[in-house]
Structure formats: structure tokens, C-alpha cells
């Protein structure tokens, strides 16, 4: 019998990514944000989530991808982490997918530094590859692999 896991999927630039459904609190349309001067540019701002102040981090910037084109509004994937609730800004939302466990593989060595650091593994789907994001590492914006740090500075 195959064990299946459910993932909430989304797109960031040209990446197809997923987060385990149990970690996702909710998915929201674009929310107005208050920018935080002097903070890391990975932090896009603060949003008001029904009275709770939630920090939004831009996944494109976190993954060191290209800037989101002007006029394209990001969506919020609000995840529960050890650091509290954090919103990840993504380009668009995909389906909730059930994928069999045996399709999983750890990220290949050749993936780029920061992405490999933040990706738990890859599910080989019929028509695409689903990258599973490590939410804990993603929201801890100081967590950068040594190799990537060099690139970063």
C-alpha cells in the first residue's frame, strides 16, 4: 500500500514548490503591507491577519530568484512555524496534491546553493518536479549555508 502525503503547492518564478498541508494555516490574496525600513530586503513587510501582525517574507528574494515583475501581485501562503506564524509571498497558488511517498528524492547535489539549503527534497510527478520547502529554514532568514553566504555578500 502506498503512503501518500498532501502538499499545498505554489509557483515562485519558474519553480513549482510545495509545503506540507498541515503546516499551512491559510492562503490569502494579496494583502496590503507595511514596509519595515532598515530590515533585510527579504522581509516585504507586515500584514494584519485578523489582529495578528504577521511578517511577510518574499520567497523570490529568499530563494535569490529574479524580482517579481511590476504589476504582478504576490499571494500569501501563511505557514505555522516554530517562530510563529509567517506569511510567504509566492507568485500563484496551485492545487493541493496527494503524492506517493516513493516518488520522493533528496535534492540533487547540483542544485544551486541557497535553494538546496531550503529544499527538503523533490517529488517526481508525472509532468513536473515538486520541490518541498523547508519552512523552518525559510523563515529563519539568518539561516544561510556557508557556500551561499559567500555569494550573498
Amino acid at each position: 500500500m502506498e503512503v501518500e502525503k498532501q502538499f499545498c503547492t505554489f509557483y515562485v518564478d519558474d519553480l513549482f514548490m510545495g509545503v506540507e498541508v498541515s503546516k499551512v494555516q491559510e492562503v490569502l490574496r494579496y494583502q496590503e503591507m507595511t514596509s519595515v525600513p532598515l530590515s533585510s530586503d527579504i522581509v516585504s513587510g507586515l500584514i494584519n491577519l485578523r489582529g495578528q501582525i504577521v511578517t511577510a517574507i518574499d520567497l523570490r528574494k529568499r530563494l535569490e530568484l529574479n524580482e517579481r515583475p511590476d504589476g504582478q501581485l504576490p499571494m500569501n501562503v501563511v505557514v505555522r512555524t516554530n517562530e510563529g506564524v509567517v506569511s510567504m509571498l509566492v507568485d500563484s497558488i496551485g492545487d493541493v496534491l496527494e503524492v506517493p511517498d516513493n516518488a520522493f528524492e533528496t535534492p540533487p547535489e547540483t542544485i544551486d546553493g541557497i535553494t538546496r539549503h531550503l529544499v527538503l527534497g523533490v517529488y517526481k510527478l508525472a509532468d513536473s518536479l515538486l520541490l518541498i520547502l523547508d519552512t523552518e529554514k525559510t523563515v529563519n532568514i539568518e539561516s544561510v549555508p556557508d557556500e551561499a553566504k559567500v555569494k550573498h555578500t
Binding site: 496590503e32 503591507m33 507595511t34 514596509s35 519595515v36 525600513p37 532598515l38 530590515s39 533585510s40 527579504i42 522581509v43 513587510g45 507586515l46 500584514i47 494584519n48 489582529g51 501582525i53 504577521v54 511578517t55 517574507i57 517562530e83 510563529g84 509567517v86 523563515v139 529563519n140 532568514i141
Partner: protein, 927 residues
């Protein structure tokens, strides 16, 4: 079991605080038996409970204390300062054991035998000559042997062994006075709660007869009731609970097994106890129901005999004053006490009474349900939710005011919502409020101990005990207040002899006063002692290098007195060692400021001192000023706000620059300006203040500075929320909040802002700029020169643009590095050049305590040019006459009618400090 212990600890700590106060009151009024009874009862309860919990050390200590108290209560001994001190020392001992238990469930390894000896000696009427293991300062001051040798020494002398029970006095049909009523009520509330618990426990126990914990819990409760009512003189209740206790004790020891008969008997007993409690509540009397048969059944069960039927309580027909009861055998839970209960009266069994249930109902609705204990965490959560509700309300109100013409029903209901929310907010805030008397209650003890230790006489008065404050604030001000009070007694109030010599009452007075004023709570600590001698403070401050004598000569009396708040100013060496240890007044000040409060001191030498502490009512919701900057809104806490200054059109006329730093002349004082735009990194290069319209004058750590913002939005009450971990690095922000329109706004951290803009670190600069009336104006054709004196007569100048900073150093701070004099400056080692030596006009003769230096920085390295006196900063068209071939001099000019040499800073540095420019050849623009 942990729960039981915790409950015991909480209760005991509370009770001990009460005890301290009672005992001090008692010293004033030794004949007050109410107070004594109260003290006795509490110690007795602690003793009983810890006996049951197995804390034998605590028990034995409490036991000797109880013996002493019991003799005091019975009037066989009289309370004198010695006994008070001994009893207080015992409380402290109890407290320490309790703390040990709290920490690791053990009683600690402190030895109290000395204290116990002393207590027993005092009990016997001897005086405890030796010192007892008092923890407090009282050691030195333990007063001379008791003035009045206690009477009836012999009467009790043959009864010294500590196992002897406290002679419980049984009042026949007790008359309960007003004050006593409070004690009784407390007892009733507690007992009702406990009985409910027993009901549940007993039923559970029937399911699971071997559950030791349940049994223990029941046993403890019954035991407590027994002990307490024995003390209160409810003999009937006591005798009933006593047999119940015996039965329970056998069950607990496992000598009997719970069966339905026993369970019913116990439940009947519980009902009977309730019934008695009910009649006590209604008419202070135990009622005339006779429980003889129930008692008999219980004692039969205890002996292991069987009974056919469990009878109820039976009404007695004649007033039947209970017989005198032997004091309960031993407070240590008697294991396997198979002896018949002392006061079991065996009347003919008669059948149950009908009026039982209704009486019980009546009683229940009384005292027991007016108060509950709530977890503080739950209150905090409620508080947060209410905060949210307030915000949601604000949003709705804004919305409704926008389109009020559309839907009047909506407007009406939103107004209704408004009212309800406001009321709810107030209500929830109130639940967290506690009277300040809770903190104050321990002060009489502190003052008393201290006064005895210092051989002073001090009376403490309190006004406004009922003034309420948020619980977290109450906790936060506890230590600072204690420190202030210790200081007042130790340093403020003079010895009785001095006071008489000064024409004052022998007894010093210390007044604590609390009241509300303008949304804040003011606490005043007033003493009529010696006051603070500004001269003495000055001397001490100079001694301790808090200020220099030059600075001191410039300070007014008020400023001098406020020096006691300066860090490093400790009074440790003064008079005694009691205060001045550990925290100084600077810590008091910082702690109070941490919660948004402030301290102010007024003192009249020889008349007394008043300390005024201002604190906010609550921490969760703060008033804030909302400013705009770069299109976003930021909140500034009102506590930091002093005033707002609007800049008029010719902004540039008011804002002046010192070496690129904008300053503003506010009523003659220079106010350094910080541009919020720039601090937040939002301007692109231009540092013009054109767009800035408003200066927000802020205060932090006694430093004032102006924050230049684009506009002011509003003032608003905001709920402070912490920033997430991702933003921890941003120290310009204290948190975030949600504004009325639902958007998030950041709260500025004024302290962080001041630090990052370096307003805070430049105290010396400010002092200088105040002294030397800096006048600078932007002008292209003229030059700004800093003029200073070198040697006796020489006047020299430096182009102001080259001046990094003006500093003062203490001569004592100068150290040697090779041939160079150096000072530590901002974490670096900075070489000093004495210009008077370089230009050899004459030597840097007079040793001053303070040297003035011009700091010149280049490529991250600084050099201090020591001058003899900074004279002025001038802005003039200077015509430099070149041709001077003196090394280090650019030329000479006439400035302000005086011939002045212009210093070539680089050359001077190069010639004196080799290697300063070795590594790089920077381009210097001059002229």
C-alpha cells in the same frame, strides 16, 4: 501531590505577608487579641498542613513559634520587641524553608535549632539572651532582654517539650466581633470550596479505593477544618471533624478499606459539616443539631466495627453547649489512632432532620461565590482579545462615520458597540488591577526591622492603599519601592537624639501616599528626616568621579540632589551598611523608567525628602503619537514626547548646522535634530530638511533631541505587539501595532533611535556647545573657525570643517603608550597632542582636572589636539597672511581683533606622531 504542595506554598506565602504586617501592628497595640489570634491561626494552619505533608523541619519550627504565640494569646506573656523580633525571625525561617520546598521539594539544610531554642526560652518566659539566627539586619539590633519578665513563668515551665500541643482555648458559645467575622468568613469560603472538593473526591474514591492521593487530599482538608475551627472555638464542628479525621487517617494508613458504608458515613459527615458551617454563616452559632450518633458511627467505623445504618444528624431539643474538649491529641496526623475520639458524646440516636437541605442552599449562595481565583495567563489572553476588539471597534467607527447617511441602523448599532466595548475594556482592565496596598503590606515590617537595626524610631503611614495598578506594574515597582523606603529609613530619618536636638518629634515619620493624577499613578514617599545635603552629595560625587569639581560648580541645588540617581553614586560608605548594598538609586530609576515611569526627588536639608514616582496605569495599551514619514505611519510612545515644534516657512533660518549636523535653537538651547527619513534610510542622498515640517521633541535618559518628521497624523491608543524574529535586528522599532484602519504601523523605539543616531553618546559635546554659544550660519564666502587658547596668551584657530568633535577628558584618564599620551575614546586608543607643547609658547602648565581637546578624525583614526581653552567659533571672512614659516602654522589672521594663528593640523600630526600618515595619503581640502 505536587498540586497540594503548590497550593500550600501559595497560601502560606500569602499568609506570611499578612503575618508580617499583623505582627508589626501588634507591637503598637500589644493587647489586640484579634491580631494575635489571627497570627496564631495562620501559623497553626501552616504547622498542621506541613505536618501532614511530611515537612518535619518546618513543622517543628512552626510548632515552637505556635507555642510562644499561644502563650501570648492567652495573656500569659506580653509581647515586647525581643519577642517580636524572634517571631519575625521565625517567619523568615518559615519563608526560607518554603522557598526551598518550592525550589526542590526539600526543606533545605539550614539549621534552625538556635532559633527554636530561643523561641522555647521565650515561651518559658526566659529571655533569649543569645542571638538567634535572624536573617535580617536585626542581628546587631536585637534589643536588650525583655523589659518585663514574663509572668507565670512557673506555670508553664514544666511543659517545655515541643510535642506539647498548643493549649487550644475553647470558647463557650463564642461571641464573634466585627473583625473576627472576616476571619470566620474566610474560613467559611475556604471550607465550602474544600467540601465541594471532598464530595467529588469521595465519590471518585469509591470507584478507586486505593488511591492514596485522593485520600490524602480529603484527610488534609478535614484536618485543616478541624484545626481552624478548634482555634475559632467551634467545638461542635471540631469534635465532628475530629472523628472523621481519625477514620480517614486509618483509611489512609491502609488499615481500613473504603466500603460503601464508610463512604456514606463520610459523606454524611461532610453534609453535617456543611450544615454547621451554614448555621455559623447565618447566625454565628453552630446550631443546635446534635451529631452524637454520627460521631458514634464514625468512631465505630474507625475501630473497624460494622454498623447497620448510617444515620443522619439529629436535631437536639435542648440547647446543648458542647463540653469542653481536650485539645486535639497531636497535630501530627495521628497514624492508626484507634482510641475513641475525645469528645464523642453518645446520645440516643435519633432520626434525620428535614431542614438540612434548605439551610445548606441558603448558605451556599452567601460568601463562597463572590470570589474566584483566575489564572493570570487567562486574564492576559482576555486582555489581548479586548485590545483586538477595541481596534475592530475603531475600524467600524471610522467606517460608519464615512457613510453615516446611508444606514442609520448601522450607525446606531456601531455606537452601541462602541459603548459596550469601552465598558468591556474597562472591566477587563479592572480584573488585572490590584490595590497598591498589596505591595505596601510588607513595608511596615521592612521599616520596623530597619528602624530597630539603626536604633531609630520610625512610624509608617499609608494613604491611598486602595489605589489600583496593573498587576505586572505592581510586581515591577516592588523592589524599587523597597529600596527607596530602606534608603529613607537608613539615610533619611535621623536618630532620636538628633531629632530631639533639631526640635523634631523623637519618632520619625515615613508617609507613603498613592493617588491617580492625569492617567498616571503617583506614589510619594515622604520622610521628615534630615533631607539631602547638596554639599555632601557634591563632595561624594566628586570623590566617586561621577562629576568633576568644575562641573559641580556649575550645578544648581536641584541638579546636585538628582545626582543620587547617577550611576556609580552609591552611598555605601555612609553611616550604615543597611542600604547602599546591591542596587543603587540609579537602578531604582532605571527600573521605574523601564515600565514607563519616572522618579523625581525634592529635598529640603534638615526638613525631609519627598520622592515622587510616576507610573502608568497599565502596560498593554499605551497612548502614542502617530507621525508620517515617507508615506508610512509610525507611532511614538507619549512617554517620550515633550513637545511639538512646527517649522515655519523659512525653515533654514531656524535649523542651523554644526559640521553637517542639524541643530535647532529651542528657547535658547541647542536641540540636536535627527531626521527620521534619514534614520530610516529613506532619503536618497539629499539631506535637506525642506520637506520636514515638524520637530517632535523627544526625551530619553534626560537627553532631549528633535525628531524631524513630515507630518503628524493623530494621537491614538495603541496595543503594543512584539516584532517577529525576522525583524529582531531592527533596533529602531519597539514593536508594531494595528491602526484604526486595520493597517500595521511600526512603533519607534526612541532609545534605539537616539543611539543609532548617536544623540545619546555625545553628552560632552552638548555640554560644550551650551557653554560656548555656537553660532554658525551657512555662508559660502566666509569660513568657520574654531578659536582656542594655547598657553597663556596664544590664540590659535582650526578650520571648523576639520573638527570632528570637541571633547573633554579627565586628566586622570590619560595613559601612556610609548612616548605618546593616549586616551581611550569610543573603544579606540586615541593619541593626544598638546598644542601648547608643539608651539612652545609655554608649557601646558596648570594641571587641570579636565582637558579640552579637539578631535580630528581621518580614515577612521582620531587624534586629540589638547588645547587650553576653547574660546569661540567664529564665522568671518578671514584673510590669511601667509608667509609664516613656523612648522605647523598655515598662516596668521586677525580674528575678532586678535592675532590668531591657523593650525595646519596635518603637519602638526605628522611631525609629532610618526607613522600616522604612512599608510595613506589622503587629500585634504582646505580653505
Amino acid at each position: 501531590m505536587d498540586d497540594v504542595i503548590n497550593e500550600f506554598l501559595v497560601e502560606s506565602f500569602e499568609n506570611l505577608d499578612q503575618l508580617d504586617q499583623d505582627l508589626v501592628d501588634l507591637e503598637q497595640d500589644p493587647s489586640n487579641t484579634e491580631l494575635l489570634s489571627n497570627v496564631f491561626r495562620i501559623i497553626h494552619t501552616i504547622k498542621g498542613t506541613c505536618g501532614f505533608l511530611g515537612f518535619s523541619k518546618l513543622e517543628s519550627l512552626a510548632h515552637v513559634g505556635e507555642n510562644l504565640l499561644s502563650r501570648l494569646r492567652d495573656g500569659e506573656l506580653k509581647l515586647d520587641p525581643e519577642k517580636t523580633s524572634a517571631v519575625l525571625a521565625m517567619f523568615d525561617g518559615v519563608r526560607r524553608i518554603l522557598s526551598c520546598i518550592e525550589a526542590d521539594q526539600s526543606e533545605g539544610d539550614e539549621d534552625f535549632s538556635e532559633l527554636k531554642d530561643k523561641l522555647s526560652r521565650l515561651t518559658k518566659g526566659e529571655s533569649g539572651i543569645e542571638d538567634f539566627g535572624s536573617p535580617a539586619e536585626a542581628t546587631e539590633a536585637a534589643p536588650a532582654p525583655a523589659e518585663e519578665p514574663a509572668p507565670a513563668t512557673e506555670a508553664k515551665a514544666e511543659d517545655p517539650q515541643p510535642e506539647a500541643p498548643a493549649p487550644a482555648v475553647v470558647h463557650e458559645d463564642p461571641e464573634i466581633s466585627e473583625e473576627m467575622e472576616a476571619v470566620v468568613n474566610e474560613f467559611l469560603v475556604e471550607s465550602y470550596e474544600n467540601l465541594d472538593q471532598i464530595d467529588r473526591d469521595l465519590v471518585d474514591l469509591e470507584q478507586n479505593p486505593s488511591d492514596k492521593e485522593l485520600l490524602s487530599s480529603i484527610f488534609r482538608i478535614i484536618h485543616t477544618i478541624k484545626g481552624t475551627c478548634g482555634f475559632l472555638g467551634f467545638s461542635k464542628l471540631e469534635s465532628l471533624t475530629h472523628v472523621g479525621e481519625n477514620l480517614l487517617s486509618r483509611l489512609r494508613e491502609g488499615e481500613l478499606v473504603l466500603n460503601p458504608t464508610i463512604a456514606s458515613a463520610l459523606l454524611k459527615m461532610v453534609d453535617a459539616v456543611r450544615q454547621i458551617l451554614g448555621s455559623i454563616e447565618t447566625d454565628q452559632n453552630q446550631g443546635n443539631v446534635d451529631y452524637g450518633d454520627l460521631i458514634e458511627v464514625l468512631s465505630k467505623l474507625t475501630k473497624g466495627e460494622s454498623v447497620d445504618e448510617v444515620p443522619g444528624a439529629s436535631p437536639a431539643f435542648e440547647e446543648n453547649p458542647p463540653e469542653k474538649i481536650e485539645p486535639a491529641a497531636s497535630e501530627v496526623p495521628a497514624p492508626a489512632s484507634s482510641d475513641a475520639p475525645a469528645a464523642a458524646k453518645t446520645d440516643a440516636p435519633e432520626q434525620s432532620s428535614e431542614k438540612k437541605p434548605e439551610r445548606r442552599q441558603e448558605a451556599r449562595s452567601g460568601v463562597s461565590e463572590t470570589s474566584i481565583r483566575v489564572d493570570v495567563g487567562l486574564l492576559d489572553k482576555l486582555m489581548n482579545l479586548v485590545g483586538e476588539l477595541v481596534l475592530a471597534r475603531n475600524q467600524i467607527l471610522q467606517h460608519s462615520s464615512k457613510n453615516d447617511d446611508k444606514d442609520s441602523a448601522f450607525v446606531a448599532s456601531s455606537q452601541h458597540l462602541n459603548l459596550i466595548t469601552t465598558e468591556l475594556q474597562e472591566g477587563v482592565m479592572k480584573t488585572r488591577m490590584q490595590p497598591i496596598g498589596n505591595v505596601w503590606s510588607k513595608f511596615p515590617r521592612v521599616v520596623r526591622d530597619l528602624a530597630v537595626a539603626c536604633k531609630k524610631k520610625v512610624r509608617i503611614d499609608m494613604e491611598g492603599k486602595e489605589t489600583e495598578l496593573d498587576k505586572t506594574i505592581i510586581e515591577a515597582i516592588k523592589d524599587p519601592l523597597t529600596h527607596i523606603i530602606r534608603n529613607s529609613v537608613d539615610h533619611g530619618i535621623e536618630s532620636p537624639q538628633d531629632r530631639i536636638a533639631n526640635g523634631k518629634d523623637e519618632e520619625g515619620s515615613l508617609l507613603l501616599r498613592a493617588f491617580h493624577e492625569g492617567g498616571q499613578v503617583i506614589i510619594e514617599i515622604v520622610d521628615d528626616g534630615g533631607g539631602i545635603d547638596p554639599e555632601k552629595v557634591k563632595k561624594k560625587a566628586i570623590e566617586k568621579h561621577v562629576i568633576t569639581s568644575e562641573q559641580a560648580s556649575r550645578m544648581g541645588e536641584r541638579e546636585l540632589i538628582n545626582l543620587i540617581f547617577a550611576p556609580g553614586f552609591s552611598t555605601a560608605a555612609a553611616i550604615t551598611n543597611v542600604s547602599g548594598r546591591g542596587v543603587g538609586m540609579d537602578v531604582v530609576k532605571t527600573n521605574i523608567e523601564k515600565i514607563g515611569g519616572s522618579v523625581d526627588i525634592h529635598s529640603k536639608f534638615k526638613k525631609g525628602t519627598t520622592l515622587k514616582v510616576k507610573i502608568p496605569l497599565t502596560l498593554a495599551i499605551i497612548p502614542a503619537l502617530v507621525v508620517t514619514c515617507g508615506g508610512d505611519r509610525y507611532a511614538i510612545p507619549q512617554v517620550n514626547l515633550l513637545e511639538l515644534v512646527r517649522l515655519d516657512q523659512q525653515a533654514n533660518r531656524d535649523v542651523e548646522m554644526i559640521h553637517g549636523t542639524p541643530v535647532y535653537r529651542l528657547r535658547g538651547n541647542l536641540l540636536p535634530l535627527v531626521n527620521l527619513n534619514k534614520e530610516l534610510g529613506m532619503t536618497q542622498g539629499s539631506e535637506e530638511l525642506d520637506e520636514a515640517k515638524i520637530i517632535v521633541v523627544l526625551q530619553v535618559n534626560d537627553r532631549h533631541f528633535g525628531l524631524v518628521v513630515e507630518g503628524i497624523a493623530d494621537t491614538e491608543e495603541i496595543v503594543v505587539k512584539p516584532l517577529s524574529q525576522q525583524l529582531k535586528g531592527a533596533n529602531a522599532f519597539a514593536g508594531a501595532t494595528i491602526m484604526g484602519d486595520g493597517k500595521v504601523a511600526l512603533i519607534l523605539d526612541v532609545l534605539g533611535l537616539a543611539q543609532s543616531s548617536r544623540v545619546l553618546s555625545e553628552v560632552a559635546e552638548r555640554a560644550l556647545s551650551e557653554k560656548t554659544t555656537v553660532e554658525t550660519k551657512k555662508s559660502a564666502s566666509t569660513q568657520n573657525l574654531l578659536v582656542f587658547a594655547v598657553g597663556q596668551k596664544g590664540r590659535m584657530a582650526i578650520i571648523l570643517d576639520m573638527v570632528g568633535r570637541l571633547e573633554e577628558f579627565k586628566t586622570a584618564e590619560v595613559e601612556k603608550s610609548g612616548a605618546l599620551d593616549v586616551v581611550q575614546y569610543r573603544g579606540e586608543i586615541m593619541p593626544l597632542i598638546y598644542l601648547s607643547q608643539v608651539f612652545a609658547t609655554d608649557t601646558y602648565g596648570e594641571e587641570k582636572e579636565i582637558m579640552q581637546a579637539v578631535v580630528y578624525s581621518e580614515n577612521g583614526r582620531s587624534v586629540g589636539l589638547v588645547v587650553d581653552q576653547i574660546i569661540d567659533i567664529v564665522e568671518e571672512e578671514v584673510s590669511i597672511q601667509k608667509g609664516s614659516d613656523r612648522p605647523g602654522v598655515l598662516g596668521t589672521a586677525v580674528i575678532k581683533q586678535r592675532v590668531t594663528d591657523l593650525v595646519d593640523v596635518r603637519e602638526v600630526i605628522q611631525s609629532t606622531i610618526m607613522g600616522y600618515y604612512d599608510s595613506e595619503t589622503p587629500a585634504l581640502q582646505e580653505g
